[in-house]
């Protein structure tokens, strides 16, 4: 009785929802993760400039958002435009779920800082929208107490290690350096900057074999282990907490702190620096790069509308609008450092400088397994189960097996 009425009502509702042309307007269904108050003004601007198009935005949660996109894809119930993180993106592209945008976004892609993020096997399956990197956050007050220079952050490995050790000796629950424990999808971003900075690599240029087992990577891991001993090892959110409580000398973290610190620790005296490079001439201030990519599914109902919206969102003005509101990401287009917003915020500009030197992860279909291999072995070294050399060798062997066994042709 009640069930039948409910079912009928539901069916009527569903039928009423059908029909993508509401009042003569074209409809673009857009799934994304930014809070409504940040993306709202950007979408309003789009609607103003495109009166014939209506955007139906749905905000996804970071918790289980991927499950939702996956379930929708399995059922063919996909949005027109979707935001995918750079870690998830290669899988979606490699499995043939996304529309090939190589030709339609060629011009825009040239203006992007990390256009390769959206490329798999030489073809572009999305448009980079917002990017993020990691830099060194250091505590000025603790550095001062330890008698260190507070005008600039540590420049190279020796300076960082010395600073970490001095701050670590201050006692009272204060730690010098915050190293990440074996946290999936995170540890990698905190260790590899040192490896890349030292000239280390992951894969050979053709992507068919591992180039991970190298003296540069072993040195980087030994350095990382030394840093961990001069501080503490914990998960990222705990390290951020400790940093904001003024109990951590330095750590590698990201732009989300620019949002959190004013709210939670407005009196914190801190600085941001590029990730230190090895001593001497060799090496760079490398860091990890990732971001959000706009893409459209092959099963979408309105692919042309999706492309129109994507082009707008990734354009300089719209992306800047979002980046200013969000603070945790930067636009993917080049040249935004000249904008007044970044001119007034030197610390956020450091992130932009870091981006120019940042390295994206290879868009290899087996990348997540390779990343897991690195994280597993680094974790074992952190807990003293392996030496740095053994860990690098073991990780390299696993990466090599994955590189050789994976069929690189897109399905």
């Amino acid at each position: 009785m009640r069930i039948r009425a409910l079912l009928t009502f539901a069916l009527l509702l569903a039928l009423a929802g059908c029909g993508k042309k509401a009042g003569g307007k074209e409809l673009v269904v857009f799934w994304q993760f930014f809070p409504a108050e940040q993306i709202g003004p950007v979408l309003d601007e789009f609607r103003k400039q495109n009166p014939g198009v209506d955007v139906q935005m749905e905000q996804l949660t970071w918790q289980s958002g991927l499950e939702k996109i996956t379930a929708a894809t399995a059922a063919g119930n996909v949005p027109d435009l979707c935001e995918l993180g750079s870690t998830w993106f290669p899988r979606f592209a490699a499995q043939g779920a996304l529309v090939d945008w190589t030709d339609s976004t060629a011009a825009m892609a040239q203006q992007m800082v990390l256009a390769d993020m959206a490329r798999v096997n030489g073809r572009s399956y999305g448009l980079p929208w917002a990017v993020g990197t990691r830099a060194l956050f250091w505590n000025k007050a603790l550095f001062a107490r330890a008698g260190l220079d507070t005008t600039r952050g540590p420049e190279n490995w020796d300076e960082l290690l010395a600073a970490a050790r001095k701050v670590n000796k201050l006692g009272g629950g204060i730690a010098g350096y915050g190293a990440n424990a074996g946290e999936r999808y995170v540890l990698f971003k905190k260790f590899m900057p040192y490896a890349w900075g030292n000239g280390g690599q992951l894969l050979t240029d053709d992507g068919k074999a591992s180039a991970f087992d190298s003296p540069e990577n072993v040195q980087a891991l030994e350095f990382y282990l030394a840093l961990a001993k001069a501080g503490r090892v914990d998960r990222q959110d705990q390290l951020d907490e400790a940093f904001m409580q003024g109990k951590l000398g330095a750590q590698i973290s990201g732009a989300w702190l620019f949002r959190k610190i004013p709210k939670q620790a407005p009196d914190l005296a801190y600085g941001v620096a590029l990730v230190p490079h090895p001593v001497g001439d060799r090496g760079t201030h490398a860091s990890f790069a990732g971001g959000e990519i706009l893409c459209s599914f092959k099963a979408s109902k309105n692919p042309s509308g999706a492309l129109k919206l994507a082009r707008f969102l990734a354009s300089r003005d719209a992306a800047l609008m979002l980046a200013r509101a969000n603070q945790s990401v930067q636009p993917a287009v080049r040249g935004v450092e000249s904008d007044a917003y970044y001119q007034q915020r030197p610390m956020e500009r450091v992130l932009l400088d870091q981006l120019a030197l940042a390295v994206p992860t290879p868009n290899h279909p087996a990348w997540l397994d390779m990343e897991a291999a690195i994280e597993d072995e680094v974790e074992k070294a952190l807990y003293g189960k392996e030496s740095a050399a053994q860990a690098v060798k073991a990780a390299s062997a696993r990466i090599d097996a994955l590189a050789k066994n994976t069929d690189l042709s897109a399905k």
């Binding site: 409910l6 539901a10 949660t61 970071w62 289980s64 929708a72 959110d237 959190k260 939670q264």
Partner: protein, 273 residues
């Protein structure tokens, strides 16, 4: 049982309770601290302040009242369904002899044994085919009949003496009449537990409401709270703790209301004098 004083609580319970409540004390504490920190250290206690800004932000947030109403409506309907169908099926499995009863009982228990991470996508496909996605039906129908409730009632009924039902049967009453007039009242404690459990599970249900609905107008409280308070790299602790406290109140209320039916001892048959 042990001879307990009618006046006050057994003394040993008090420290046990206080220990149990420590995490909640922290939750409440964090919900009234300014900023968004997840600082659960003694230092945080030392610099404690007080603000209701998180509660205010949530209650004024657009959509929040809507999410509350959605959660209430859906939970109420599902609880009603679980209580009714749990009683019906549980009683039948416990008392009625029929071919395949053992298999059906094990079938009920077995449906609890597959994790929802695996069931999620096929269930989504079913709802998609039935065109029920993004409707209230998607939030209600798959959960209307619940294996846990059935199993609980079944176990409870096997503990009940069957004399009252048999006497009524001898008197010539029909089976359904016996069910409604005799069995259902006796099932009150079990149904109270079913109500509490169903309300609780449904109220806090996150994954299925998230993936089965898209529109903001259908959103339930846990999903709304996650949208506000859980970012990619950072959790807004103040908002999350405040939201969780607000969210806990209806469940607590439901508990206090329903658990009154779990009273001390029944005197089955004694009322007959």
């Amino acid at each position: 049982m042990s001879a307990v004083r009618r006046a006050g609580a057994p003394l040993f319970l008090v420290p046990v309770l206080l220990t149990m409540l420590v995490p909640f004390a922290w939750m409440l504490f964090l919900s009234v601290q300014p900023g968004a920190g997840g600082d659960l250290t003694l230092a945080a206690l030392a610099r404690a302040r007080f603000t209701l800004e998180h509660y205010a932000a949530l209650l004024q947030a657009s959509g929040f009242p809507r999410y509350l109403v959605n959660s209430l409506v859906v939970a109420a309907v599902v609880v009603g369904g679980n209580v009714l169908t749990g009683a019906m099926v549980g009683y039948a499995l416990a008392r009625k002899s029929f071919f395949g009863r053992g298999a059906l009982t094990w079938g009920v228990i077995a449906t609890l044994m597959l994790p929802k991470q695996v069931l999620m996508i096929p269930l989504y496909l079913v709802l998609a085919r039935l065109h029920l996605l993004d409707t209230y039906a998607a939030l209600i129908l798959p959960f209307f009949v619940d294996a846990f409730s059935i199993f609980l009632v079944r176990q409870y009924v096997t503990q009940l003496p069957a004399e009252l039902e048999d006497a009524a049967r001898v008197d010539g009453a029909g089976e359904l009449r016996i069910f409604v007039t005799i069995v259902l009242p006796l099932l009150r404690p079990a149904l109270a537990v079913v109500a509490i459990n169903s309300f609780l599970l449904n109220w806090n249900s996150f994954l299925f409401p998230l993936i089965f609905t898209n529109s903001d107008r259908l959103r339930t409280l846990p999903v709304g709270l996650a949208l506000f308070a859980q970012g990619e790299h950072a959790v807004d602790w103040g908002l999350l703790m405040a939201g969780s406290t607000i969210s806990a109140l209806p469940v607590l209320l439901a508990f206090l209301v329903f658990q009154r039916h779990i009273i001390e001892g029944i005197t089955a048959g004694a009322e007959k004098g």
